[in-house]
Amino acid sequence: MTNVARDQQVGRTALWFGLLGGAMAWTLHLMLAYIVAEFGCVGRLANYDYLGITLVAWLELALTVATTLGAGTATAVAYRSHRRLRSPEVVENVELAAERSTAWAGLLTSGTFTFVIVFESIPILYYLRTC
């Protein structure tokens, strides 16, 4: 990227975060959601409730919001990188083709994982008072 103007470059961290951030958020969501469900339902957490909703369900909902935000941020970062790399000033620049492709893949990947997190979490709404 040596010949590319600084304001047209996209950082490596942003590219990797955009590509893998959604997947990481989903991994975190699934693992923690499972741990909260298994350990919470078998343990004592399910016995506590607030506003008629068990602590397990509160934790699951909070986890879903947090990881959706994480995956959504990765999607937004990927979108920003992609938009910057598709701008008219740099769209013809072959030196940036790898970065452009990575940003596009990140947009698709993280976007999908954001959706997957929300989709997987719908059943929580049916288990607000019980495990």
Partner: protein
Amino acid sequence: MSAVRRAKASGHPGRDAFSETWNEPTGFPGGMATVDNFQIGVRFLVTSFSFFLVAGAFALLMRVQLARADNDFLGPDVYNRLFTMHGTVMMYLFAVPFQEGMAAVLLPWMLGGRDLAFPRLTAFSYWVFLFSGLIFFSGFLFDAVADVGWFAYTPLSAPAFAANGIDFWVVGLGAAEVAGIAAGSELAVSILRLRAPGMALHRMPLYAWAWLATAVMIVFAFTTLLIATLLLELDHDLGTRFFDDQRGGNHLLWQHLFWFFGHPEVYIIFLPATGVVSMIVGAFAGRIVGYTWIVVAILLTGFLSFGLWVHHMYTTGLPELSLYFFAGASLMIAIASGVQIFAWIASLWRRRPVLAAPLLFVLGFVFIFVLGGLTGVMVAVVPFDLQVHDTYFLVAHFHYVLIGGAVFPMMGGVYYWLPKFCGRMPNERLGKWSFWLTFLGFNATFFPMHVMGLLGMPRRVYTYPASLGIEGYNLFATVGAFVLAAGFAAFVINVLYALRYGAEASQNPWGGDSLEWALPSPPNFALYPRLPTISSRHPLWQQETDSSLDHPWQHVVEALDHRPEEWRATLLVDMISGEPQAIARLAQPSYMPLVASVGIVLVTVGTIAKLFLLIPVGVLISVAALFKWHWPSRTELELMRTSSLPKETGLPIFTTGSNSLGWMGMLFVVAVLGWSVGTLLYSYFYLRLYSDEWPQGGLPLPDRLLPAAMFAAIGLAAAAFGWAWSSFRAAHKLRSMVGLAAGIALLASFLVVHVVQLSREEFTPQTNAYGSIFFVLSWTVDLVVLIGLGMAAMTMARAWLEGKHWQLFLALSVQMTAHYGYFAAGVAAVVYGTLYLSPYGI
């Protein structure tokens, strides 16, 4: 003429010396030392396919047994053994190793590297795989064949119920996992760093993308199973209680660990096959539609596959809420698979491709896999799965997924790349016969099983009563199985025919777009004497002129043309952009991989035969071989130091950090160890969750103070290694040596005191599950420390022996020791917190 072809034709005075350096030893003893990716890959293919034929014969015997109701062709004992060995061999000894063999051969060809990143590791992986297979089958010699299914559920496989065949199963499997992890690490590093200049990620062949995801999956999934099998073997040999419900263990822990491996395993088998399909479709259609979408689908599949393990456990009584997260992931993975299917169909749409054998197998794959995928969505739905669990519906489903999703593409792949492997074409007529026999035989065998399952035929039962009304379906399936076997026979005959009598193949008979088709058929040992430069996703279609002439890395390619002549080198490129970053040295042939694997065999034989003295002997042999293996040749180092290549190319030879293959390799070692610790920590908390008291059995809470001091020693050792590295960079050899020595002394002290402390505990690994997991986690820390000790000792010894060029030769070793020390300190902190603080509720 493409850039690559012109490169091949160019003359060069150093050609002979260069070829000599890359030549492999010949003959029987030489063959034991070879590290050539082609030879080893072919060995993987032949060995794993031989296992496939044996396991297929087992399947035929089972089908004969099931052809009639109340049949007594096989007794229940023999039947149980046969279905166990059939599943085990197919899953562990055929499906993955066969594809690893293909990848070992094809990836360097496709990526434009001169070999894989760690050639000796390739050889080691093969030897361990071969021996693991022999261990599995040697059970037949001692009438000790496992009869617990390929999943070996506890308590059936636990000491109380399992016969001695389980030892062969567990130990053989452990060795196969070691081979798989070695191959996975090797392939991942090779794909990430050993590519032709200019081959950015977005220009990488889809086969390499599929393997990149698969290789990383192998590392994590196989490590989980390695730990699970280790715990099971400890229950058998050492009397630990991990899966003993009477003594605080939990038999469901096995299922969790097993399926955390088992479900990704399906995609580990399936994803490389999709890579094969993408390459074949691309060549026959002359295009591939939706490249980025396919890449995204591969990434999605790789991740999601780890989120499906509980969908094998819907009937085990887990909390309902937890089931639905996994049901969601199971449904979503169909989207990722669907994207690829649509991309292939779109690629073939209106292209009028020639329906040759490779494409026929791909079309067969699409048909069968779509059906398997649809039933997969059905069993992802909890209420439906509860109805069909452990029935023949599941048998039908997973055979549609595994044979359709993997075996068909593998057969297509063999037909597709055979001309490159041997320079001869397969017989097209026989190829079509083999396809139609396989396709029709497969569907005749497995489609009726859907119906049988819905009618209530259970899996893994050696016979059924005539009153069930499924005899006709079973007879039909058995006939189908023999037709399927005829299809495989035609395939084997065709391959053998091609090897001897096949018509001479042109360089690129199918019109493929990837680099391997620019190589001679078969390629020489010295792959790419002149490295190709890549400026397109389809180099053989779109690089018609020699683009390297005006390529920014032209001078690099020129400098490395048939060079270096005295040592093996290839380019190491940036992971994303494919820009050259360093010149990497590749290993020469060596007997050490074989010796190290023999050490592992001794460990396994000692475990099975209860000759426990053999275990330390095997460990010593393996460790000694590993030291010898990694000890660099002084002559080679001198040649590298005096090489003019850095000046000519502007690229370094002696590198550190992520620009060196050694550091990348260590990253995977750390990943495996870290994941192992994570798996054990999960086991710890899982056992604790289902225990009424913790520690179990009224044992006292652990002392916190002495262990805190002991574990702090590991942190101090890490600090000493870090100091050694910073002193090294400041060119203070003495301080660096002092840092290393201090770290070694601290680690050694930890080990001594830790062993004493463990010996004074008032419980043993056999007392209860708490004692078992306590000791195994403690031993894991010892193992992590021992590895660090070995690295530091080797670095120190080299530093002692090195002369004035120590700073050039040792930088990587010192850095790796320091980084590994940080990892060890992290492990120590987490394990200390778990074992000594968490029981207090902290």
